[in-house]
């Protein structure tokens, strides 16, 4: 088997991140190259998700969830790939939905996605992290293997307990996110895994951390403790998205007065590891 790009197929991508500071004599801006391998997906309005119909490239090993033998992508997956020309999103008339209309879907809050969430998703995916919506399993097989306490959202447990593998599972997922209040002060949004060329959706292991996005002031101690109870054992990362030209993701972790904390490790971002 060929050695696959750990970043999930970005090797043919000219530039993966947004333009940063430009020189004064700009001239022609660099542009993304049109790709040969373009995935086709149908937008399912009722679901608020896309059904992938023609899979191109290895990126789908680390993107989208599997139900009933099909891959479904959340709006953040769709927009990220559409922006870089790796995905054509089609409507029910087989016509390509333009980027402007996909931006409108995000503006309308379809599928529980906020702009802040998308910015964070895009930033992490561009760096090679594997990112999935919190509260759903990658596959049904993943759910059956995972211990009962792993996934934080009771909604996702309910889907698996039903034992159904047909389209109604997807419907329950979309209902779960339709009910999400985007403007909640802080909530877990994504499960983030490290870059991994051997990643398998059926046995992904625990996420590296669960990302919570703050829309307002920094979280209080009580809010953090409440979230930690929901996400038993998985480290939390809190993120605040600041809009501005010098766009940086500010992330921080509050150190709790928790007797079982044995160590705090700083890499490029801060996280707290709770050891038994």
């Amino acid at each position: 088997m060929e050695t696959e790009d750990w970043s999930g197929g970005w090797s043919d991508l000219e530039v993966a991140s947004p333009l940063s500071d430009k020189g004064y004599d700009l001239g022609d801006s660099p542009k993304l190259q049109h790709r040969k391998n373009v995935t086709r997906a149908y937008w399912k309005e009722a679901l608020g998700m896309a059904e992938i119909v023609s899979i191109k490239g290895p990126r789908w090993r680390t993107t989208g969830i599997v139900r009933d033998g099909k891959i479904y992508a959340f709006l953040e997956d769709v927009l990220f790939l559409a922006e870089i020309g790796a995905l054509h999103l089609l409507d029910d008339k087989d016509e390509c939905i333009p980027l402007k209309d996909i931006y409108m879907k995000v503006a309308q809050g379809i599928g529980g996605l906020s702009w802040e969430s998308f910015e964070v998703y895009k930033h992490l995916k561009s760096l090679g992290y594997i990112v999935k919506r919190h509260g759903v399993y990658w596959t049904v097989k993943h759910a059956k293997r995972a211990p009962a306490s792993v996934e934080g959202e009771s909604g996702s447990q309910r889907i698996i307990d039903n034992g159904s593998e047909d389209i109604s599972s997807i419907t329950e997922i979309t209902e779960l996110f339709r009910a999400v209040k985007i403007k909640d002060e802080v909530r877990p949004v994504f499960d983030v895994y490290p870059p991994n060329s051997m990643f398998k959706k059926s046995s992904p292991g625990d996420p590296m951390f669960i990302l919570c996005i703050n829309h307002g002031n920094p979280s209080t101690k009580e809010q953090i403790e409440d979230l930690e109870r929901q996400c038993e054992g998985i480290p939390l990362l809190f993120c605040y998205v600041e809009h501005g030209r010098d766009h940086t993701m500010e992330s921080w972790k509050q150190k709790l007065n928790n007797p079982i904390v044995k160590s705090i490790c700083c890499i490029s971002i801060l996280y707290m590891k709770i050891l038994d």
Partner: protein, 241 residues
């Protein structure tokens, strides 16, 4: 602290290409193409042709998002979008239903998104009207940083905090001396002067539904620097060898 130009020829280039002229050209280009931005939560997105892309980069409005589209998509902060809309009057803005927002609709939206939006926008406009290039100061823990010209030609001179005069609760920055010390220490480390912009409402009530309340606002500029008693004494010394 005077301007710190980056490299040879930057100052000459800047003087030959004033920001004010680039902004006029940008305004004219956006009006000509009847540009419409999409309001998205706390930002506005706009599709721009190559000429507009160039001018937006020269004047440092927005952040370019690279996409496969033939037009470049720019993302503006609320302040930038409002400056283009209310001050330069060169774009329209549509909501998620594709309908064009009126002045009052847009103002109401902006003031609902950020508590202190009128004061922050007034401060932003105050600097932009004077042809300073204004960017987010989040990397330095301030509201804005101000550049004399394009950031590729010159380092920013001012780290800007926006304070509101007459605010009942007071401002939540620089409340105790250690706040001053840490802020001044930071500014010194990054070679910027701390500039406080006091926005005075002059008794005008913030009318959430209309931007006309800003007409009565005024802005007072005040820089804060550390006074070094030893250096000052040496600088002022007479007859010493």
């Amino acid at each position: 602290m005077g301007p710190r130009w980056k490299g040879k020829g930057s100052e000459v280039k800047a003087l030959a290409n004033p920001i004010s002229r680039s902004i006029l050209n940008l305004k004219s280009s956006l009006i000509k193409s009847n540009s419409k931005g999409i309001l998205t939560s706390c930002s506005v997105r706009l599709a721009c042709n190559p000429e507009q892309t160039n001018l937006l980069n020269q004047t440092c409005f927005g952040r370019c998002e690279m996409t496969i589209d033939k037009d470049q998509w720019f993302q503006f902060t609320l302040e930038e979008a409002c400056y283009l809309y209310f001050s330069l009057k060169c774009i329209k803005i549509v909501g998620d239903d594709d309908s064009v927002k009126t002045d009052n609709d847009l103002w109401e939206y902006m003031t609902s998104k950020k508590v202190d939006f009128p004061n922050v926008f007034k401060a932003y406009s105050h600097l932009r009207d004077k042809n300073w290039v204004v960017r987010s100061g989040c990397q330095f823990g301030v509201d804005f940083v101000a550049y004399r010209h394009h950031p590729s030609l010159v380092h920013s001179e001012y780290a800007v905090l926006v304070f509101s005069k007459g605010k009942v609760d007071g401002n939540d920055r620089l409340r105790v001396w250690s706040d001053f010390q840490s802020m001044l220490r930071l500014c010194g480390s990054v070679a910027k002067t701390l500039l406080i912009l006091y926005v005075n409402t002059n008794g005008e009530k913030v009318i959430a539904s209309s931007p006309s309340c800003l007409d009565g606002y005024s802005v007072v500029e005040r820089t804060i620097t550390r006074w070094s008693e030893e250096r000052c004494r040496e600088d002022q010394a007479v007859g010493m060898k």
